[in-house]
Symmetry: C2
Subunit: 665 residues, 2 copies
């Protein structure tokens, strides 16, 4: 690690260098008349030492794969990140961008948005999740290191988190998992400023954070966050210690604003002209807003190019290693070709053998061929491995000091699993998938939303997807979750009906490069349905699985475990001389994306009946006015699955009856 | 606390008494062919000592207000609770009920469901939430104690939690808050069995739980969970210590099943006939399934009536105190009468003065009169007090050693806030409300679901309810949350349009005794709309705010901040000679509950345009086929609110244009 050590020069920054951040932060917030000056002003010293003397990066290439990652978990302090980015000279981040802070179309959004400003490694703002996502990045580093070795992948992940991050429950999941996996290259800088929005943190917390982190196996230090030499010494020690490190940086929020510093009023409101002027005076910052003295900027730009030779050496090392192509392919993580043939073969076998399988089991079969065809996938489960069937043969389990495996026991931590998967997807090279019960997507929802907002290829394997799970009862039976997930933008929700659709939906999920996917899978066995397998029919979202013989009297639209029920109902209707078409609709989203003509063809003009063991909410879009719906109207109950289906009236007979009711309407 | 001490007799139970629980648990699970025998068998000894020698209760009255609360946070071990309930003799819990474990309509659901079997203080199963809810109950005890004194309210709250509960993030929020508030009458028994579903807990966690709890100010003990005298001594010490107590009970999961104990295989599957027989032998339990020897049952029933004299004395004490009526009224917590007049006056004032106010501000005004009219309300916020406006004058802040206030700073802990509110509502006497941003309902969703499932009057004050929040950007802007909450059964989602509707919706929420409510409130100012205030029009869910002059050409349906926009659009349409009616629909749920004739009258037969700064998902039910929708189709952005509304095309002009498009369709 010669290169990395070279970067560890003694802290070479002055208070004035840090004040450059403070000035930009307060000026940008004042100009926007909105934002959070307190945190950037409080953490400017810590961040300056980190960026000028420790962080391995080359501003010329914010995407250099072996850069240290820096995550601002306290995302409301976004101006810290933007100020740093401008000062070190990230390409395309100009002073004009800082002037446009929080304006429509600017790169400098109110909270750091992934894909907007360079240097934003992940979208942050929802508290705790930056830290939780960074844990995923730090896992990604170790996984990639295990594949490519120290010369190609070897870097740190730094996080700045606030009191709010550490109060949120997800911080526990993140800290526990990081400590367990001994992620020694993860360094957390806690902005220990004693202030939250409501007032002093003593209003709501008494936890000894140092002890808490030690309890989870972390290395802990406490420093004065305004003392440059303490900051540098702590960062050095943190890097040397084999455990993940937490540095409690005692800071003054809004440092430099004489009347507001140390108070909650400086957290989330502009300083205003008067206090801004007083702060300038107090800080000895004589320059007009957004004007950066050349001498100060030059020092920062030098820091920004400090990693250039390191990056150049790395490029040479990679070239000399003979692994350039492999590494590029790894980063690309394009699996379309590799999985196409084996998944097609799987579909053909299923069409021939017609197994009666739970779709969670069909998913395991699909994963078997996927995980054999590519090494990009990183599996895991929130302690339901043997129920969600996410661990396939030979995948290897990730453990402390052993990152050669591809399966992570995330523990009973749905939220951290989701956030860590975001981190893995952001890291590059990996396609994370993770399993739990559909109902517990509620626990992970905050991170699923960030998958969708960032456009990450993260795959949620959510099984036991209806009352079909049976005896565990209403706490474990999703009824509103399909609707609540379908309501989320940029999330594909797949509910396959059988082994064939399950293989199809896995293929679609793996190839959706900028959209996360939910696979909603049954606990109970389902028959394999009769249909051609030459084409991935699920790609259309919905399709006519069985056309009526002659003009349709009714169209039955179903998903997942209720598709076979709709086919049964069609038989019952045929016996009464009624012609029913059956539409399988594994994905509302993909169906909505088809052209109107195709949709009209599938939906037809006959009255419609929707069938899904869940609430109707969201279905009316497909049903129209002459329609009925067979599903749930409230929470489930505890009983064997068959008894529940009968009890809640979700049966072929009920579907047929509802169809007869709407025919001729 | 004379009565309580009287109960602390030395542990008077034998292994055989505890084996009664083990036998019932393994037999019921075997009979149901489904369930979790491991935990009840492992914790039978701990639970026996607790119920026989410590827990203050009288089986004859499971609802005695001054009983100790017992929460099984590890809800999958429900047979522990049912076995105990049967053994101590809760009325209406018979051996037949245990035989019907996990069957349709039985009281003995797979996980403990509130309102089913007696002795179930809260629905548990979603891990971590039992503990988090118990923290709310323990707060409730202190709040009630502050009002009525030690003679009337003075009891403990006991929780059994498993490894999963302590891995979940919410456990951190619960532990931190409980430690901070020094809830000394909260005792957590941790089933420290080293096993989770995937295998040994060492697969996923390395946290030193004892140290972790100490870091948050808890009293911690470690014991052998199968040693009766250690259990009793620890419980005694826990009760004496002024801090909340955690007792790490080292146990063997599935204790007694010779081939399966100590393994994950005993966690969630029936033992099966063979292992069941071997376990009987190993435990020395010679009795047939579900047969309880009279001698053993008699001992348990004695334990069940142990508290009878204590309860009798309490009844006398209450009567003698002269507070009987006040206490009964407290428990009743019926505020309908008290709030009716002041809220009506508020509406009348608003109708006269026509303030332009954010509905979050109107909510504060409503809360001002509500909190003055009743003491049942317990407010709070997850560290956004000054943004969600939940703290009204003179409410008083709850602090360690001071529970006379009615406002809780929950900290940056949305999930714990929601779970604690569930606990307060379950405790009785209180109507909890708590505030955060609508978008962060995602973090609390697991507990909101339990509010709905249990039918608790919990009120979620969710502000900043659209892109109208402006610069904070897409991480803070809900677009799918209204839909995802409306999808949930038994949850009323209110989105009031102005000061008048806000007062109305508060009244409806406070009077909905078995349904939780969401109040979705704007950050931005909204005009007061012209309408009669003699009646609570929001009670109908939706109503014609402004009828068209003559036959309708179009019906504009809007909610919250978009209702005034719809009125503007109607004006634009009138200028073009088109007659538009405007419907305000503050609650989909209440509107859906109206009769078809009323709904038809409101919706009319003209084409419709829906307007809401959120996704369309779920709206089609009200729009029909000749319709348009003006709202969001994806995530928001960071910019001033006005710029965002214009950018996303949510304007009166866009509504009018859409209306012209559908007229004549």
């Amino acid at each position: 690690m010669k290169e990395v050590s070279m970067l560890d020069v003694p802290a070479s920054c002055t208070r004035e260098d840090a004040n450059a951040i403070r000035a930009l932060a307060m000026d940008a917030v004042d100009r926007a008349k909105s934002g959070h000056p307190g945190m950037p002003m409080g953490m400017a010293d810590v961040a300056s030492v980190l960026f000028r003397s420790f962080l391995k990066f080359d501003a010329a290439d914010p995407h250099w794969p072996n850069r240290d990652r820096f995550v601002l978990s306290a995302g409301h302090g976004s101006m810290l990140l933007y100020a740093l980015g401008y000062l070190v000279g990230y390409p395309g981040l100009e002073i004009e961008d800082l002037k446009n802070f929080r304006q429509l179309g600017s790169k400098t959004a109110g909270h750091p948005e992934y894909g907007h400003a360079p240097g934003v490694e992940t979208t942050t703002g929802p508290l705790g999740q930056g830290l939780a996502t960074a844990v995923g990045m730090a896992i990604g580093e170790r996984l990639a290191n295990a594949r490519f070795g120290d010369a190609i992948v070897d870097h740190f992940t730094y996080v700045i988190a606030g009191d709010g991050c550490l109060m949120e429950g997800i911080s526990h999941e993140a800290i526990d998992l990081a400590g367990h996996l001994r992620l020694g290259k993860l360094v957390l800088l806690w902005d220990d400023n004693h202030i939250s929005i409501d007032g002093p943190t003593s209003l709501a917390t008494s936890t000894d954070q140092a002890l808490r982190f030690e309890a989870s196996g972390w290395h802990v230090q406490k420093i004065d966050g305004h003392d440059f030499s303490q900051i540098a010494a702590a960062l050095r020690a943190a890097k040397e210690d084999p455990r993940p490190s937490m540095i409690a940086c005692r800071t003054v929020i809004g440092y430099g604003a004489p009347n507001k510093q140390g108070k909650e009023s400086v957290h989330g409101s502009p300083l205003g002209a008067e206090e801004n002027a007083l702060a300038r005076k107090a800080l000895g910052w004589e320059h007009p807003p957004f004007e950066m003295p050349q001498s100060i900027l030059a020092g920062w730009r030098l820091a920004g190019s400090r990693g250039a030779p390191v990056r150049a050496a790395w490029i040479e090392t990679l070239a000399a290693s003979g692994k350039s192509q492999e590494f590029a392919r790894f980063l690309e993580a394009d699996v379309a070709e590799a999985i196409a043939a084996p998944l097609k073969a799987l579909r053909e076998t299923a069409a021939q053998e017609k197994p009666k399988l739970a779709t969670r089991k069909s998913s395991e079969n699909a994963l078997g061929v996927i995980n054999a065809a590519t090494t990009a996938t990183i599996g895991g489960s929130a302690d339901l491995t043997h129920s969600v069937f996410t661990l396939t043969k030979g995948l290897g389990v990730v453990a402390p000091e052993n990152f050669s495996g591809r399966y992570i026991h995330y523990g009973v931590r749905e939220f951290e699993m989701a956030a860590a998967m975001n981190g893995l997807a952001l890291y590059g090279g990996f396609i994370p998938y993770g399993g739990t019960f559909l109902v517990f997507s509620d626990y992970a929802r905050g991170a699923i939303r960030l998958s969708a907002l960032m456009g990450l290829r993260v795959i949620y394997v959510l099984t036991h997807d209806s009352i079909g799970l049976g005896e565990d009862g209403p706490t474990h039976q999703p009824v509103e979750h399909l609707a609540s997930l379908r309501a989320m933008p940029n999330l594909n929700v797949f509910r396959p009906a059988d082994a064939i659709e399950t293989a199809e939906c896995w293929e679609l999920a793996l190839n959706a490069r900028s959209t996360p996917s939910v696979l909603s899978l049954s606990r109970q066995n389902l028959p394999t349905l009769e249909r051609p397998v030459s084409e991935n029919l699920s790609a259309r979202g919905g399709y006519v699985l069985q056309e009526a013989e002659g003009a349709r009297d009714v169209t039955l639209i179903a998903t997942g475990s209720e598709v076979s029920m709709a086919l049964e109902a069609a038989k019952l209707l045929a016996a009464k001389g009624k012609r029913a078409a059956v539409v399988s609709m594994p994905s509302f989203e993909l169906f909505a994306a088809q052209d109107a003509a195709y949709r009209a063809l599938v939906l037809g003009t006959a009255p419609r009946v929707g069938v899904e063991a869940a609430v109707r909410f969201g279905w009316d879009r497909w049903l129209g006015e002459r329609s009925a719906f067979i599903g749930m109207t409230g929470f489930g109950a505890s009983a064997p699955a068959d008894a529940l289906y009968a009890h809640f009236g979700i049966t072929p007979e009920a579907v047929a009856k509802a169809a007869l009711g709407v025919i001729g309407k």
